[in-house]
Amino acid sequence: MCDPVSIGLGIAGAGLSLYGATQQASAAKQQQQAIADANAANQRSQQEGFVARNQAAQQQTAAQLAASEQTMEARNNAATQMRQAQSDAMQRYQDVLKAENEQADTLRQTGDTAAQQLLQSTNAQQLQQTQAQREQEQAQLAAGGVPQTPPGPDVTDPSGSTNAVTNDLVAGGAAARRTAEAATNIRQYGARIARADAYGAPLQWVGLNIADTGYGIMPAEVADRLLRGGSGTRLLPTQIAYGGATSLGQAQDQLLQSHGERALEGAALSYGNAKDLADLRQSNEETATKNTELQAEANASAKASTGKIISGIGGLALQGAGYFAGQGGVPAGSLFGSQGPIFGSAADASIAAGGPPLAPGGGPSWLSSIFSPRIT
């Protein structure tokens, strides 16, 4: 038969075992819930971090696109302006060259005309004509000196005031014939001299025409030299304009490039910082979640351990109840019948078992650590 002690001990052991099992189940459920909460929190923080990073990346893309478009438009305008200025400079260069060439053509036309006139005035026909004209002119000069009538003695003529020769018809006729013969000889001689001397006329003519031509074209020649000498100075502005347009265009392009790069760098920095903030926020939340999860797991583990102990005690009680029930009751003078509490003081039991001293709260230190709230 079961004595009341054994019955009570059995009931208590069964209750403790049941309570411990319940505690273990509850701890397992809490641990499961903690993991689920941590997963949800991690997912939420990752989602928030992703959204933040995505928005930052979109903003960076939009900012970079806008900066690039603005930069490219400005660079395009600057390049167009530079090309236009270069084209204008080239056109001015061509205009200056054209004006100088036109002026040079006018001057050359003067020289060409003079050269053509020189050639025409010194061609074979002209030279021959010059020679013939010179021959004729000199022959006429020589002929001009031929007396047409033989001069007779003047008033000093010792034969008297009358001309004896002309008075003598016979002598006069002879004198006329002789004078005519002399005149013929003189004309022939003069013609020969004129013909011989006329050979030098073409050379003289050529020399004079060359001198006249040189004199005539001298102003144009000097003007041509002046035109050539000043050409570099007149072309210099166009060269400066072209070089200046090029250098200014390149400088403006570099300026715009730098401006665009700064804008891109700013957008990149904004994105990087936003990403870092999102990463930091996510990391903090994940760390907090992890800590919370660990805490919950530790709590559940402690609760499960306590449940195990309680269940163990219940099992031990059941074993004792069974033992005593088997012996017909609790013997007198046993621990349960003669001495105080079943377990005595906990400190005594711990010391008797060679374990650590109990915590000031009355329980073992490891138990105190389990049941006391822990903040991490």
Binding site: A164, A171, Q204, Y215, R234, P237, G244, L255, S258, N273
Partner: protein, 298 residues
């Protein structure tokens, strides 16, 4: 966890509960956890970085624009200088050319008298100048011949007529020779005129080349250079008239030798011999009854 205390801007005491290790400034801004503090600090750092980046960009842009503006100003200044220099060069060259043209016009004016008619007149004058002594000697020779013929008593003789013909031929040939000299002298004068005109022109060109071929740096410098050249050229052109006048020299003819001496000498000898021969013939004819006063049939 701890409690943080501070006074607000109005001096009122404030307190907040938060985790340990949070700077008070961030607690005042509402951060009660370390994580919140770190987020705020990171946000502050980000704002500062972006502001610094913007400031750097603005400074860089301002510097670039200043440099660009300076380069543009320098370019405009250089362009303006080159444009002005080119304009001055054109004005300078035009002025030099105009001065040269004016100078040549003065030379042309000074030498305008040397026309073909002028040289034809020179030839005639030269020939007249050369013919004058020829005619003079011819007249004297004729007298001498007439005297010789008269002395010989054969004034109306064929021999006298022949000698007269020789005198005429000598005179005519001398005049013909003189035409060569006259033409040569005219050619020489014509060449001298052309040479003198060319020399004057060369002098003008040399005077015109005085000064830099590049125009001065100011319009006053250009005008001063042009005036200097005009002065130099005017010094040459003012002498053009003198040069032209000096070329109008009276034709100079070499002294004529006695061109009839040979004719008269040989004629005298001939006539002497002829007379002797005639006298002997007439003497002989007289001895044979011929009338010594009979007219000559020669």
């Amino acid at each position: 966890m701890q409690i943080y205390y501070w006074n607000d801007d109005n001096g009122n005491p404030q307190a907040a509960y938060g985790e340990a290790g949070i700077p008070l400034d961030y607690v005042r801004r509402g951060a009660n956890t370390v994580a919140g503090y770190q987020m705020l600090a990171q946000q502050d750092l980000s704002d500062k970085q972006i502001q610094a980046q913007q400031k750097i960009a603005d400074q860089q842009n301002t510097f670039n624009e200043q440099q660009f503006q300076s380069q543009q100003d320098l370019q405009q200044k250089q362009q303006a200088q080159a444009d002005e220099q080119a304009a001055r060069q054109t004005q300078y060259d035009t002025g030099r050319q105009q001065a040269l043209t004016d100078a040549q016009g003065q030379i042309d004016k000074a030498f305008a008298r040397f026309t073909p008619e002028y040289f034809a007149g020179y030839t005639k004058d030269y020939l007249a100048r050369a013919q004058d002594p020829i005619d003079y000697q011819a007249r004297e020779a004729q007298k001498q011949l007439a005297f010789q013929l008269a002395r010989q008593g054969i004034s109306s003789s064929q021999a006298g007529i022949n000698q007269q013909g020789l005198l005429d031929e000598t005179r005519g040939r001398s005049i013909a020779d003189a035409t060569t000299a006259a033409e040569n002298a005219t050619d020489t004068l014509r060449s001298n005129v052309a040479s003198a005109r060319g020399n004057l022109q060369n002098q003008v060109g040399a005077a015109q080349s005085i000064g830099s071929p590049v125009a001065g740096s100011t319009i006053d410098d250009v005008n001063a250079s042009l005036q200097t050249q005009r002065n130099a050229i005017s010094g040459v052109t003012s002498t053009a008239g003198d040069v032209a006048t000096s070329l109008q020299a009276v034709p100079t003819v070499n002294t004529l030798s006695n061109i009839f001496a040979n004719v008269l000498g040989s004629g005298g000898q001939f006539l002497g011999g002829y007379n002797q021969g005639s006298l002997i013939k007439q003497f002989n004819a007289g001895l044979s009854g011929t009338d010594p006063n009979k007219a000559s049939t020669v």
